[in-house]
Symmetry: C2
Subunit: 570 residues, 2 copies
């Protein structure tokens, strides 16, 4: 249930940050969509500064990146600046699975959190519908071409697509954690039920349409990108796009409302734009370009969050989102906790879903100093992109003064512009006062974005450069990967940037290598192109794109109470 | 694209019909949801009259039932009465398939029709999500119980459900016409991908949750009904409900917004409530009880539509919706067209998707007099439920004066209270002036609802009585049907009313028997219980619950234009 914070009508929140009512499409009292016509209206206004929030390598303990993204936007307002937060929309799957919601928390939460965590304004459902329309269209075409055989063209007036049913790469999607749908057979028995073939569902956040929504510049750009998505190959080995299937227009129509970002507010009435939620492994893990473009002319500071650690969402912000949009951050904030860094020492026995060992709550600067290397790596990684890096230590009650002092010194030693304690969960914006001042100062620094490769580099060279970026000795390309590179070069799509699909649980591609792995290779199994989103997925390990439900899923505890209020959602 | 009608802000439309702003949840400028708290506020106000719109047996020509439902609500306003229309929400499947939208048309259309025909406020997506959450939960439980084996209870603290994987009756749903998903295998290969088993998808309108949304009295009633839905049987043959799986609360939470009806307006600014869209064969085919309950105290007349002919949606209105809600109509309007009735003569060669024979546009009272028998049957059928029946002849340009005069006399002869020409498509409310006056008069008649069976009748007797109602000699029950009756009696659910799942294309259960079939039996293949919705589905023939896409699907022509407007949606 939403806590008792004093929410303001969303029209008031919007007006205060410069969004007139004419641009608002209300969805209830506390949520609105923002019409894209505002982009045209504000196009001559100067942009504020963009602050990119990232984190150390994730641990089961949680680092509080979303809380701090929200909290820093509150903090900047607290010190008298105008700030807006831009975050991703949570997926339903985790809400009913194990993770719970993704609204932040405490005094740094987006409200009403039930609205954020459930359907919001239906954008994810729209993506599911648009994505699966393409699948239905593809299977229908496969069926009709097979069923009508040589008569197909005469009877329909359409050219045969000759879809290769073994090379359909557009899997269906659903916004649930549903293990049983990972590997399925459709059209069982054939005949009127279609053509029997192997298929699978991924969770909607993994849809290329989600990445397109997050990267598109406007409705026409989205339409063009949707036309370019590769659905399958034909029997001659040529690609079949959504345009070829004549379904791209209808898919776009289904996303016509979804392209408008959503505005909500934090506990402290700071405006938050919520838009798109692509994964940060098989996609780029950042909220939308459109939301950033709307927010930047309206605020002094726009605070946005990238998925997982700086090796994942932040890297993809620079190499994918920045390359495509040209919008650069002015500083990076790196979120860490004492506990998570201590756990990186490898000396605590922490397992997801089991009680934490008591020892982790006891002060231990020695183990912290071992695990802090992970923070050091992320500071250097973030700095290597050419920006000042501020470390925000998300404070927990058991953190000792010695530990905090150690970390602050350590971060500066490693090159951080500043390192401060964040207490936004308990205190809201006030808890990020010092950090906010550091952000203001950091954003005044001259910066020069440095990218690890050029789009024009040879595809295999780009991969090697990224492997080195992670500290690997080299990338080993499988035969399949080498073949995929050839295919992508033949398609003349090798100029696209990379989206390295690897585990977020290690800086390397092996989730078991904690802290700062050294002396390792990265094995590349295969590549695939997201031609509409505009990146090449380079697979370094198996990426699970359809989670499952555990034995104690969150849905068991979610219900309505006697008064009809939602309980059990967190 | 929406035509140029002068739309009013939805708050204004709502206020004029007595819905204060405090009860409105706006979704953009022209759509709002209505908070259920209005029911409590208006509970002492007297109800207006309910007008139930039905039709003759559907033909490929289309009869214009939705157009006339909308048009009659405009007509009643035109003659100075306060009227509201209550209709079902269209499904996405047909919008992108062949049928196009379901917003009415001409001067009797709900606007903006793009909003109505696409996501509206996300109710159908919410049903899909809630429904498929139960499926994911069921397959996850099946997996964990099999995977952990004897350790399951010790490790999870949960009692085993022992789901019989061959008797899972809760299929997944999706809101698309997707033939390839009719028959699928999930969990292919087993192991971490779940338990391999046969499965299938139905279109979302076929979900029991859709029927529950349409029949629930309030949020708590919906919660209770969702708990009662039967998902599967266990290995001992006992039912497993959503309550047993501990997923009913979360399903309800996903439907918490969907339970609020949507308000829009017609071309003539008449308020329209849109809520739920259950099928009229495997479900009861009517919009929601809640929408009726909200509308009735606010209007002199509430005009609502039932799916297919009077043997389908209207029958189910009385036997299911009226039995459960206690809300009775005051008169029935039967929509017919000259062309459709002529086609019932069987003398024209009409095929869906092919050009109409020219002859059908030429006046032919002789063939009309043969086909009119279908109208006669529906007049008598509707009258048998105890209400006055008004025939609305939906006029087409080629209808001759002789044909129209014949039909008007014929309808009165057959017992209609009145028969008038409707020209609402061209003229809006003005085109239903005479009809509206007849409705006012008919609603003043004393009426006494007569139902064809008592809930307490023996289940097999109820089936025979319904067979006789269609004019059949008798119902033949298969061995499976007889067994199902026993099971339902053992479950003590045999007191529920019937939902006869048969073709809508004939009064009989054989789609090839046109006009008024005589001397036929009805073969009952099997029965199934919708325990949450509260009816017993009695299958008289195969009912397709997952349509497919044709060779020239509507999506091919749907796109955005240069200005970003939607084109090709109709």
């Amino acid at each position: 249930m939403t806590n008792s914070a004093q929410l303001h009508p969303i029209g008031e929140i919007a007006r205060k940050c410069g969004i007139d009512e004419e641009y608002l499409i209300p969805h209830g009292k506390y949520v609105a969509k923002i019409d894209l016509s505002i982009l045209q209206a504000n196009k001559h206004k100067p942009n504020g500064k963009l602050v990119l929030v990232t984190a150390i390598t994730p641990t089961p303990l949680g680092e509080g990146k979303t809380v701090n993204t929200i909290g820093l936007s509150e903090g900047l307002n607290y010190i008298g600046k105008k700030a807006i937060a831009c975050i991703r929309q949570p997926s339903l799957g985790p809400v009913f699975g194990v993770k719970g919601g993704a609204a932040g928390g405490g005094q740094a939460e987006v409200l009403p959190m039930e609205t954020l965590n459930l359907h919001l304004t239906g954008d994810i459902h729209a993506i599911t519908a648009a994505h699966d329309l393409a699948s239905a269209a593809l299977d229908a075409r496969l069926y009709h071409e097979e069923h009508l055989g040589d008569e197909f063209t005469a009877q329909t007036g359409l050219k045969r697509l000759n879809i290769d049913k073994n090379r359909i790469i557009w899997k269906r999607v659903i916004d649930h954690n549903d293990r049983a749908l990972r590997a399925i057979t459709v059209g069982v028995g054939g005949g009127l039920n279609g053509v029997e073939r192997k298929e699978g569902f991924e969770i909607t956040a993994a849809s290329e349409l989600m990445a397109i929504l997050a990267l598109a510049n406007d409705l026409h750009d989205m339409r063009k990108r949707i036309g370019q998505v590769i659905l399958a190959y034909n029997l001659d080995g040529d690609v079949i796009t959504a345009e070829d299937l004549e379904v791209a227009g209808a898919m776009t129509v289904l996303l016509k409302n979804a392209i408008n970002p959503n505005i909500m507010q934090t506990v402290e009435n700071t405006p938050v734009l919520i838009h798109a939620g692509p994964f940060a492994n098989i996609a780029h893990g950042n909220s939308s370009v459109i939301a950033d473009r709307i927010a930047l002319p309206l605020a002094d500071y726009v605070v946005t969050e990238a998925g997982f650690g700086s090796d994942m969402g932040m890297e993809k912000f620079f190499n994918i989102k920045y390359r495509q949009s040209g919008i650069a951050p002015s500083c990076v904030v790196l979120v860490a906790t004492v506990r998570s860094l201590k756990s990186n020492s490898g000396e605590y026995n922490i397992k997801p879903g089991q009680p934490l060992p008591k020892a982790i709550s006891e002060s231990n600067v020695e183990l912290l100093s071992i695990g802090a290397a992970n923070l050091g790596w992320h500071i250097k990684n973030a700095k290597s992109y050419g920006l000042p890096v501020i470390v925000a230590i998300n404070r927990f009650p058991h953190d000792s003064a010695e530990e905090l002092t150690f970390l602050q010194h350590y971060a500066i030693e490693q090159g951080a512009f500043a390192c401060e304690i964040s207490e936004v969960f308990m205190q809201g914006g006030k808890g990020a006062k010092a950090l906010s001042h550091h952000i203001v100062n950091a954003c005044e620094q001259a910066s020069d974005i440095a990218l690890p490769y050029q789009n024009s580099d040879k595809l295999s060279d780009k991969i090697q450069k990224m492997a080195h970026k992670y500290g690997a000795n080299k990338a080993n390309l499988s035969a399949q990967a080498l073949n995929d590179i050839q295919v992508i070069e033949q398609l003349k799509l090798d100029h696209l940037p990379l989206c390295i699909a690897k585990t977020p649980m290690s800086i390397s591609a092996d989730p078991n290598l904690k802290n700062v792995p050294t002396d390792f290779d990265i094995d590349i199994s295969h590549l695939a192109v997201s031609a509409g989103a505009g990146f090449i997925r380079v697979y370094a390990g198996n990426i699970m794109t359809m989670p499952g439900l555990g034995t104690n899923p969150a849905y068991r505890h979610i219900d309505i109470d006697d008064k009809g209020n939602i309980v059990g959602l967190s």
